[in-house]
C-alpha cells in the first residue's frame, strides 16, 4: 500500500467539525497514513454538505466528496484511495464562484505556514516592502478597495490619513468581532487562512508606519483564536513578524485580544475602549481613530475580509481585483448565505451580482418547498428586501437606495412561512439588549419600539401603532450617536415599508399569516393522521395533552403554552398549526 500519488484533505473549520469532520479525519489517518498524507484544510463554503473530503492526485486532479458518513468514507478509502476507482456517485460539485478573498480557504492547511507560502503567501508583503509606503497605498487606491465591515469606507483614504499623521506610535487593528448574529465570513477566513489576515495587517502597518497591531476577535470563536495564535508563532519563527522583518528596517508585532461578548464592541470607538480595558462604549466621532485612536494615537481599524484582500491585491496587482464588480463597488464580497436556502454556506461573488442570482443560482433556491419571500442583509443594522426587488444588484449604492445596507455579509433568505413582524421584533430585541445605554435615543427608543412590536405580535396592537413605530424609527436613526442606534430601526422600517399588510393582519384580524406568533396560533391534533403513539403527550412539558392509546389525543388549549415540542416529537406530522383568532 504505497500510494504517494494521493493527498487527502478534510474540511476542518468549525462547521465541518460540528458535522463530524474530526472523526472522519481520525479514521482516515488510521486507515491510510502515512502512505497517503491526510491534512486538515479550511472552509470551502459549501457548509450544507459537510463533512467534506477532497482527494488530490499528483497530476493535479481534485475530487470532492460531500456528506461523508462512515459508510461513504469506507468506500472512498477502499475504492478510490486503495484501488484508484473514483466513487462517482458520491462526488459533489465544486462551488462555481469567483474566489479572491477566499482563494486559499479550503485549499491550504491553515495550520501550516509552508502550505500558505506554497500558494505565494507573503509575496504581497515582500512586494510591499520593496516599494514605498505611498506606492502601497496607491495600489490599494487603484484597486478601489472599500471596507468590508459594513460602512464601505475607502481603505486607501483611511491609510493615507494615518500615514500623514506625525504622531507616534501608530496602531493597526483588525476588527474580527463579527457581531452580526447570523454571519460567519470572518470566522471562516480566520480558521481557513489566518496568514492572509496577518499579512494584510503587516502591509497596513508598513503603509501607515506602525509597529504594533491587534486582532480583536470574538471569544465565541475558539478555533479561530487557536489558529491565529499558531500562525503568529510561525510567523515569528520565520521572521515575518518581529524585528527587521525579511531583512528590512520594518519591525512589527501582533497581539490578540479576545472580545467578551458585547455586540457594540464591533463599533470602532467602542472596540478601542475595550482594548484599553474599559467598558466598550462608543464615543463621538470626530476625532476619528485615524487621528485619535488607541491610547489617543493614530489607528487604522479594518475588517478581517478587507485585510484578507490586501495581500492578494499586492501580489496580483490592483487590476486583477478591480476587474470584478461595479464602478463604485469594485472587487468581490463574501457572504454568509443562510436561512431557507438549499446551498447554505459561504459564497464569494463579484459586486453587482443580483439578489435573484444569489438566491436561485448560487443558493440553489428555497430549501423548504415554500416560496422565496424576502432576504435580509446586514443583520440587525440591515433591511429586509422583498422578493419583488430580486433584480437589485448587490453593491453599496443599490442596496442603500432600497433602504437596506450591504452590511458585513450576513444574508438571510426567508420563505413564505416567515413572519416579518416577528423578524422585526427579533432584530429589535437584539438591538435593545445590545444598546450600551449611553445615548437616550438608542436606549429608550429601541425599547419603546420593541414594546409596541411585542404588543402587536400578542394580538393587542392598534393601527395607530404603525405610525408611532415609523416616527420612532426615524427619530432613533437620526438621534443616536453610533451606528448601532442609527441603523437599529432598519429592519423595522423596511418590513413596515414592504410588508405592511402583514402588520395589519396582526392588528385588525388578530391573525399571523405565517403562523409564527405564538399568541395568535393554535396547535391541534388531526385525528385522521394521529396514530395514537403517545409521544406528544410525553413531550408536553405542561401536561396539556390528554388521551390514551385507546381514545384520541387532544390538546387542552387553556393549558397549552405553544412551545411546539409536541410538533417536533410527532413522527406523523399529525399536529397542525392554525392561524386563528387570539387563542384565549
Amino acid at each position: 500500500m504505497t500510494r504517494k500519488d494521493y493527498q487527502v484533505y478534510v474540511g476542518m473549520a468549525s462547521c465541518g467539525i460540528a458535522s463530524g469532520a474530526d472523526l472522519v479525519f481520525e479514521k482516515l489517518v488510521e486507515a491510510v497514513s502515512p502512505s497517503i498524507a491526510v491534512e486538515p484544510t479550511g472552509c470551502l463554503g459549501i457548509c450544507f454538505c459537510e463533512p467534506l473530503v477532497e482527494v488530490r492526485s499528483l497530476s493535479g486532479q481534485r475530487y470532492l466528496y460531500g456528506n461523508v458518513t462512515e459508510d461513504k468514507l469506507t468506500r472512498i478509502i477502499n475504492e478510490h484511495l486503495l484501488n484508484n476507482q473514483v466513487v462517482q456517485e458520491l462526488l459533489v460539485p465544486y462551488p462555481q464562484q469567483v474566489r479572491f478573498a477566499l482563494q486559499n480557504c479550503g485549499l491550504i492547511n491553515p495550520e501550516d505556514l509552508h502550505s500558505y507560502i506554497e500558494v505565494n503567501g507573503y509575496s504581497g508583503l515582500r512586494k510591499a516592502l520593496a516599494s514605498s509606503p505611498e506606492a502601497v497605498i496607491n495600489e490599494i487606491k487603484i484597486a478601489g478597495l472599500r471596507g468590508r465591515g459594513g460602512a464601505g469606507f475607502p481603505t486607501h483614504l483611511k491609510w493615507s490619513l494615518a500615514r500623514q499623521s506625525l504622531v507616534q506610535p501608530k496602531y493597526v487593528i483588525c476588527n474580527a468581532d463579527e457581531g452580526d448574529p447570523g454571519a460567519f465570513m470572518d470566522r471562516s477566513i480566520l480558521e481557513s487562512d489566518p496568514h492572509s489576515v496577518l499579512e494584510g495587517i503587516l502591509i497596513a502597518g508598513y503603509a501607515i508606519g506602525a509597529e504594533q497591531g491587534f486582532i480583536y476577535v470574538r471569544a465565541e470563536y475558539p478555533l479561530a483564536i487557536q489558529r491565529l495564535r499558531l500562525a503568529i508563532q510561525q510567523a515569528m519563527d520565520y521572521n515575518l513578524l518581529g524585528k527587521q522583518i525579511l531583512g528590512t528596517d520594518f519591525n512589527f508585532d501582533i497581539q490578540i485580544r479576545e472580545g467578551a461578548g458585547a455586540f457594540v464592541c464591533g463599533e470602532e470607538t467602542a472596540l478601542l475602549m475595550s482594548i484599553e480595558g474599559q467598558r466598550g462604549m462608543p464615543r463621538f466621532r470626530p476625532p476619528y481613530p485615524v487621528d485619535k485612536g488607541l491610547f489617543d494615537c493614530p489607528t487604522v481599524i479594518n475588517n478581517v475580509e478587507t485585510l484578507a484582500n490586501v495581500p492578494r491585491i499586492m501580489e496580483k496587482g490592483a487590476a486583477v481585483f478591480n476587474q470584478y464588480g461595479t464602478k463604485q463597488s469594485t472587487g468581490t464580497k463574501v457572504f454568509a448565505l443562510t436561512g431557507d436556502v438549499k446551498h447554505s454556506g459561504l459564497v464569494e461573488i463579484p459586486m453587482g451580482t443580483t439578489i435573484n442570482e444569489l438566491v436561485f443560482e448560487i443558493g440553489g433556491g428555497i430549501s423548504t418547498g415554500g416560496q422565496f419571500k424576502a432576504i435580509q442583509t446586514g443583520g440587525p443594522s440591515g433591511g429586509c428586501i422583498p422578493a419583488e426587488l430580486g433584480a437589485t444588484p448587490v453593491d453599496y449604492e443599490s442596496l442603500a437606495e432600497i433602504g437596506a445596507i450591504m452590511g458585513s455579509g450576513g444574508l438571510l433568505v426567508m420563505d413564505d412561512a416567515t413572519c416579518m413582524v416577528n423578524v422585526a421584533q427579533y432584530f429589535l430585541s437584539f438591538a435593545s439588549a445590545e444598546s450600551c445605554g449611553k445615548c437616550t435615543f438608542c436606549r429608550i427608543g429601541t425599547q419603546k419600539m420593541l414594546e409596541i412590536l411585542n404588543k402587536i405580535t400578542a394580538g393587542q396592537g392598534e393601527l395607530q401603532d404603525l405610525e408611532t413605530l415609523e416616527e420612532l424609527g426615524k427619530k432613533v436613526a437620526a438621534g443616536s450617536m453610533c451606528g448601532l442606534g442609527q441603523t437599529a430601526p432598519n429592519p423595522l422600517l423596511t418590513t413596515l415599508k414592504y410588508f405592511r399588510p402583514e402588520y395589519e393582519a396582526h392588528i385588525l384580524e388578530k391573525r399571523c399569516p405565517a403562523k409564527q406568533c405564538q399568541a395568535l396560533i393554535d396547535y391541534q391534533i388531526d385525528s385522521e393522521l394521529c396514530r395514537s403513539c403517545g409521544l406528544c403527550k410525553q413531550a408536553c412539558p405542561v401536561n396539556a395533552i390528554t388521551g390514551s392509546r385507546q381514545e384520541a389525543y387532544q390538546i387542552n388549549q387553556s393549558v397549552c403554552i405553544r412551545c411546539g415540542l409536541c410538533v417536533s416529537s410527532c413522527k406523523f406530522a399529525a399536529i397542525l398549526i392554525s392561524a386563528g383568532e387570539v387563542a384565549s
Binding site: A18, R257, G280, V423
Partner: protein, 143 residues
C-alpha cells in the same frame, strides 16, 4: 490567591491587561469570584468599581460558578428562524429538574449558521437540532 498573582504577573507586559487577566481567571475557574476581583484591583492598581463595571458590561463574565453541564443555545438570526426557541424550551424544561447541574444560556451566533439551529453542549457544537433531539441530549447528560 497565589494563582491569581501568577496570572496578573504573566500579563504584566500586556498593553492594558485588565480584560485579558479577567478572561484567564474565568478560563481557569469558570467564573470571576468577587474576592478575585478585589485582589486583581490591588495588584494592577485599578479601582474595584472599575473592575465591576467591566465585568458587568461584558456578557462573557460570570460572577457565579457554572453548573456541571454548560449549554449554550444559539439565538442568532439563522437559528432563530429555524426554531431556536423550541430547542431552548426543550432544553430548559428537560434540565430544570436537576437544579445546579445545568447552566443553560442563550447566546448570539456561534458561527455555524448553516447547521441552524445550533447548541454548544459542553464545548461540542450540535447542529440541525430538533426540540426532540435537544431533549434527548440533555437526558443523556442527566444519567
Amino acid at each position: 490567591m497565589e494563582r491569581i498573582d501568577q496570572i496578573v504577573k504573566k500579563h504584566q507586559q500586556t498593553i492594558s491587561p485588565t480584560i485579558p487577566i479577567l478572561q484567564e481567571i474565568q478560563a481557569i475557574y469558570g467564573y470571576v469570584a468577587p474576592e478575585f476581583l478585589v485582589r486583581v484591583a490591588e495588584l494592577i492598581d485599578v479601582p474595584l468599581s472599575t473592575l465591576y463595571g467591566v465585568v458587568t458590561f461584558y456578557t462573557q463574565f460570570r460572577l457565579e460558578p457554572l453548573g456541571k453541564n454548560h449549554i449554550q443555545v444559539c439565538h442568532g438570526t439563522a437559528c432563530h428562524l429555524r426554531g431556536a426557541d423550541q430547542v431552548f424550551h426543550a432544553i430548559e424544561y428537560e434540565s430544570q429538574t436537576s437544579a445546579g447541574e445545568f447552566s443553560v444560556e442563550k447566546v448570539a451566533c456561534l458561527g455555524c449558521c448553516s447547521l441552524a439551529p445550533v447548541a454548544n453542549v459542553n464545548g461540542k457544537i450540535h447542529g440541525n437540532l430538533t426540540a426532540d433531539q435537544a431533549r434527548k441530549l440533555v437526558k443523556k447528560l442527566k444519567s
